[in-house]
Symmetry: D2
Subunit: 500 residues, 4 copies
Amino acid sequence: MKYQDILDACSLSAADTTGGTLCVTTPVDGSEIAQVPTHSVADAEAAIATGVQAFNAWRKVPAPRRGELVRLLGEELRREKENLGRLVSLECGKIYQEGLGEVQEMIDICDFAVGLSRQLYGLTIASERPGHSMRETWHPIGVCGIITAFNFPAAPWCWNAALALVCGDPVIAKPSEKTPLTQLAIQKICERAMATFGEDAPEGLIQTLIGERDLGEVLTASRDVALISATGSVPMGKAVAADMSKRLGKTILELGGNNAMIVAPSADLEMAVRAIVFSAVGTAGQRCTSLRRLIVHADIYDQLIPRLIKVYAGLSIGSPLADGTLVGPLIDAGALTAMEQALEQAKAEGGTVYGGGRALTDQYPDAAYVAPAIVEMPEQSAIVHTETFAPILYVVKYTDLDAAIAMQNAVPQGLSSCIFSTDLRETEHFLSAQGSDCGIANVNIGPSGAEIGGAFGGEKETGGGRESGSDAWRAYMRRQTSTVNYSRALPLAQGISFEI
Amino acid sequence: MKYQDILDACSLSAADTTGGTLCVTTPVDGSEIAQVPTHSVADAEAAIATGVQAFNAWRKVPAPRRGELVRLLGEELRREKENLGRLVSLECGKIYQEGLGEVQEMIDICDFAVGLSRQLYGLTIASERPGHSMRETWHPIGVCGIITAFNFPAAPWCWNAALALVCGDPVIAKPSEKTPLTQLAIQKICERAMATFGEDAPEGLIQTLIGERDLGEVLTASRDVALISATGSVPMGKAVAADMSKRLGKTILELGGNNAMIVAPSADLEMAVRAIVFSAVGTAGQRCTSLRRLIVHADIYDQLIPRLIKVYAGLSIGSPLADGTLVGPLIDAGALTAMEQALEQAKAEGGTVYGGGRALTDQYPDAAYVAPAIVEMPEQSAIVHTETFAPILYVVKYTDLDAAIAMQNAVPQGLSSCIFSTDLRETEHFLSAQGSDCGIANVNIGPSGAEIGGAFGGEKETGGGRESGSDAWRAYMRRQTSTVNYSRALPLAQGISFEI
Amino acid sequence: MKYQDILDACSLSAADTTGGTLCVTTPVDGSEIAQVPTHSVADAEAAIATGVQAFNAWRKVPAPRRGELVRLLGEELRREKENLGRLVSLECGKIYQEGLGEVQEMIDICDFAVGLSRQLYGLTIASERPGHSMRETWHPIGVCGIITAFNFPAAPWCWNAALALVCGDPVIAKPSEKTPLTQLAIQKICERAMATFGEDAPEGLIQTLIGERDLGEVLTASRDVALISATGSVPMGKAVAADMSKRLGKTILELGGNNAMIVAPSADLEMAVRAIVFSAVGTAGQRCTSLRRLIVHADIYDQLIPRLIKVYAGLSIGSPLADGTLVGPLIDAGALTAMEQALEQAKAEGGTVYGGGRALTDQYPDAAYVAPAIVEMPEQSAIVHTETFAPILYVVKYTDLDAAIAMQNAVPQGLSSCIFSTDLRETEHFLSAQGSDCGIANVNIGPSGAEIGGAFGGEKETGGGRESGSDAWRAYMRRQTSTVNYSRALPLAQGISFEI
Amino acid sequence: MKYQDILDACSLSAADTTGGTLCVTTPVDGSEIAQVPTHSVADAEAAIATGVQAFNAWRKVPAPRRGELVRLLGEELRREKENLGRLVSLECGKIYQEGLGEVQEMIDICDFAVGLSRQLYGLTIASERPGHSMRETWHPIGVCGIITAFNFPAAPWCWNAALALVCGDPVIAKPSEKTPLTQLAIQKICERAMATFGEDAPEGLIQTLIGERDLGEVLTASRDVALISATGSVPMGKAVAADMSKRLGKTILELGGNNAMIVAPSADLEMAVRAIVFSAVGTAGQRCTSLRRLIVHADIYDQLIPRLIKVYAGLSIGSPLADGTLVGPLIDAGALTAMEQALEQAKAEGGTVYGGGRALTDQYPDAAYVAPAIVEMPEQSAIVHTETFAPILYVVKYTDLDAAIAMQNAVPQGLSSCIFSTDLRETEHFLSAQGSDCGIANVNIGPSGAEIGGAFGGEKETGGGRESGSDAWRAYMRRQTSTVNYSRALPLAQGISFEI
């Protein structure tokens, strides 16, 4: 399929993809696929103003009716799954299967949000005063800014938007400048859903801003943006947090991860191998939940590591659009350099590197294909504590589970973690208060945070935000605690007496 | 009762109250009642280190057992209610009844926390994969710093500490430098409870740091303090938020309020008068939930305002320790100056001031007693948008409810709000998504956030934190989303296929 | 549209509607529209056996995947809304608008159930023992029998089935022998959804049994039917409960209602009139939530009642399939007789009857059209305490709200209730522990239990069951409380010591 | 300690324990310890009438205030723990440690209920109609009858009463005629708590009826008893259910259990032995959660069973009041006969019996001491499917886990179950939808349902009720679903159009 056909299938027009100043290259071969027009700071301010208008209308629309819009969005996404999945693959370089997976997550979260639209549960609470009733209710908060990253150009927007829309909030997307096309395609899908939905959807309910960091800064600076949900690096997240601290705005931060797997002696090693490879080389190691550290019990180390090295050597590297490819390219040359530097540092810290070299340079001289690397480390040294957005898997050995958990917890990030073990005592300990300190802790699967029914997000420098399932929807609403006195008396709480 | 007797009754020894560099004066008459030794920055760092040790032990203690410590704390507080209530009154100047009320809140939150100690509910969640189970669990987070303010020297510490302790977290208190004695007395009560509880309570579980802002900064700077819960002014909160953004630490911010009441034509005016006076002059207008703005319907304005002015004129101002006093002193001369300046500005903006002058200057020349002020304003001008920590009640008129709500929402803070009306359509509208934008919205009671069973806190510049009841306990824990694969297969989520 | 066309549009074949022993007549004109083949007791037993097989397979299918079947069912229902709505109208005689409303409820509950399929939340619970974790999980229970009534031949099946299916339970429907066609049409819709869904849906997952009461008795007698959800009269419900008590099986009982509205002086009378008329004459007074009693404050009685009598006189009575009809026929001659007897008794007890006569006898001699009746009663006498399934509205007067509430609560049933008042004190009192004793208590709307997001059902002789929204899904699952000891010690609870 | 001293310590007076017609013998030695006056049917009816009066007052008392009474009750129980524990031991024959354990559960549930008293959470729910709000609230239901059994004369009353009282319901206890004294002692404790509490506690709030089954029948027959919570045998439960089906009253049934443990090859056998012995011989096998069936994997059978037989042989049998006793007496001669008959039948079905003979006949000729029995069975035959209330442990062998689970699930009761295994795959499978069908499913502990924070109760013939923790409190309240229309329009749900 030609690249232009992929764009066309997503209804991207010449106006969307030509004549602009933002050059989009595909990591597949490094060629330019679009010159996207960008928004100015003034455009961003206008978008916020329109968003505020939309908020005033949208919050009046009953939640189940808002859910109907999200249901229609899900229907559109079902129809466009292959088209959008292919665009994701083209633009960010993940394999087509994973592109489809992103769209499926969008569909799933829409279904989930539709169900929520008849819940959004608050509480009624027993009051200590006669003739009083107490309630806790959740209300829409206002315009939500959604800042997303190149490696997941589709699903995280939808995790946020599907919930925000059901919760009564307009959304303004600011995608990565590396992957604007996917967001533009999503915006078109949304517009079709809104057209079907009809006039209850106000103008400005769903907007997209294309451009650089300065647009994000307009969002973080404005008191009219009630919430910033930002996915990206830790430094980006700290910058957002600092900006928001000036106006005490709300944030959902989904930042880096330096995710480990502990492999215990009782593990099913064949399952572990599959999980390790998918987690470490999937999306070319550019997921926030990519597996970066492998903490292996000494007793099985010599069984597992050689097997892994062998599997790594046989992985099919190639175009993410081609059938059978498991490892696509890195996003760009910068990512390649970072990987090379990390491997150098690892060697300097005593590591033994397997794989890790550049690949397919003949076929794709302008792209950044690499062979995924396994690095045996003598200990969990500085580079192992560092998140490098590339397919590098550091391996260390352990003998005591608590020491392994301490290693797992020693990094500044706290996104995801896992253990392979069939020993209940080990697995429950890993999941306990004394176990993993991450937001996600899995057993006998990799560190993915996958199903949309659970809350996704992490602790420590990962930023503390939660998205997707469970009660993540609450972040898009404000909590109101109300006491209604329907009696003819005015008792004070705590039995205080105050007579005028 | 002599001041020294009040200190003695709270087991404060000479070592606690003499020889230090922190001079504590009582607002009752401005006299010095203690010279409290302070902690150094090094002391604060040591306290954090001890706290971390305590955390490692305490998180292993089962939650219902942790609840037992809090139950014993509640029992101690029951015994000391009068003593501690009197000290609160002496040190911060609120009337004795309100001092007792603070201690009662401490007792209530202890009871509530004991119940929570067998809950701390997470979720089990339906998984999309066969042979997988999904769970969301809540775990202790670590050392909690509790920064409190002079106007509530007792209850907020306990809202935080009772929950934090049950949740598995050690606490380090940093009280206002204006009111260290109450916190010292609480610390002693805690130590008695811990002694009764026995050795499961590790050293350093409950600590107090006495001193200035630099101690707070040690807490905000340290990665070993997982959570800062800070009560105080908006500028203080912004400073804490900025510090915490550097390390992406967790915060609970309980900052200022500029709380309004709307009085509708159908209101029970006698009840409204009582509520207004208690809310506006209680604690000499120095509560975060003090009533500061009165938005009165034109049809009843002339019934209500003269009645209020008359009641104000008859309020008994005097020593907070004396029976019958309704209005005690401001905390200090600075507060007095701020009040005088605010009234000047109000006049300049067209306001008519009733009351507001200094009081009891003969009897208490070194104290800051004032007559509470009512100020009729032509509109909600700049000074009305400003929180002045003093008993000033600005009054404005309205004719349309939506306009009144817009006025109510126009200030930067979002703590508390209320309406007096018996018209269901008005009251439910006020509580709806289009109504009050505050964290607390009451009907036919003042803007107090009183009962501990509900979550306390506010939106916008009030900081967004929630304390006390409902699920406020979650802020003291970390959320863990876990998927356990107990099958012999490794299906990927979203139906992704990835074969090695 | 010809009757046969309505049947054809719902894919009912000659095999479904001819040659059987169950004669179905339409209340529209009393003509026979089908002779439906019935199932034998042996068929019913076989159906249960197949259901058990289906259960063993279906409970292994992950809940979100089960939700996908319900989503597809919802899609089919969207497509068939008009067709099925018309069949409902034809078969049970409610107006076409209400027939559509039933199908819309089916669609809504499907959407809601899809969302639930990623929730089905249990709890994780703090344990008092170190190294122990405690969980509460919800599991499928088994085959569910769904017994429905003629007046709602469609929606209640779906309230039950959508939840049961998502919860992992096969369903066996036993519709009223008066309205089998609607259920047969639904069965066909389900089969299409299952075909689209694919092989994960086992044979026997969704079944229908056509016949008389003996088939229901097979269901209640069998230990292999885990739950009976039965909608119908109080005597039917008591019979089911007695049968189930022999084997301690689970039930959801949705029985009769004798629903009242209190109209207070502050009510918006125009709104009240609309609500009263729709609630009292809709479905010709044959809803379980029909308004049967009107308790009117003396001060507005003379305003309201004459206005109502006038509106009643102008109601368009006619074929439920015709545009503009508001009042269709009673289900059959038996219903007519019951209505006539009730009106006789009402007169004997001092009532004054307006309307209530038979209508359209020329046009439809074999049908049971009536003019809805208003009956002014001197007090709430015996007949007013009786539920007559017909459009009779008894009116009584009150002066004191608590007395009105006492009247409202005096009947044996406890389904629904409402108040028209704009006085907050009255409305909240009505909703309080001292107010209505019904499962549904509304303010400023009629006694309908309408939205599917809330739980539907009633207290006292209404049977106590809950269906549809909130956590009604739990009735279709079993609760499991689990404690996992992952330590190497065996502490007993409550500190018991027992050394061997 | 003399028996009379035990009675005296519990404040039982001569009026309580002499001159009545109900002879109470202690199972310790079979001697008569009291002749308790009984209540008549007329007394029971009067008690219900007083209870209704109490309900009308108590439901008005705010729930947190009701919680204060329960807190005071907990304080009284703390004081009386040893006294009451000893009476329990004397009257029902369980060892003193277990008697203390019962009282500790009472204390724990009181603490838990106090916490609940500020929760009793309902929901606020998103409505599909503009200007409407939807709520689900929980209200008191009325008088609760609590029927308890001889084997737990104390704790189950308190599980029910603590929750019922907090929920707003008066309670009437009907203890077993074998153990009235414990309930009389509890009644006295309650009266002290109520006296401390003051006048908010109405007369008749907590009542006790002493007598035979006819008193229970007064409770089940009366419409004024909203809920019957009954603990006892399956036949008793079916009788209660049949009675209640006549008036569609609410029940909580806690009936028999036939609880199994599966011991897998990976089990920690030393822990298993301790758990088995405590579970099977504790309370002389007369707990509803007693371990009755042991399903042991063939690979470890020969390790485990001889070890068990040896431990059994060494168990100290003796007076439950004596230090060091592990096995006290059966309740009476009837229980002894039932045990002997069961062992005969087991032999007839191919079983090999170890132990099981009568013990201490010289020392206590009038008591029913037995040596606990282990019975190796060739298969799970008829007697193994039968619950015999005595210390008989049937042992069967398994090789396939699913077959073991099928055996575990094959009995009609569904109370409790457990597995000893350290293999995560086995343990999670056991806890899954395809695992145990019991209300309680434990891992690496016995089948006790112990901690009060979880819900206690079982499936199938165990009756389906839940008591104690989680949301068991809801059974003591009625659910109210309310929609409030605060708009000036009257939209119908499901978009129905109905114009008059």
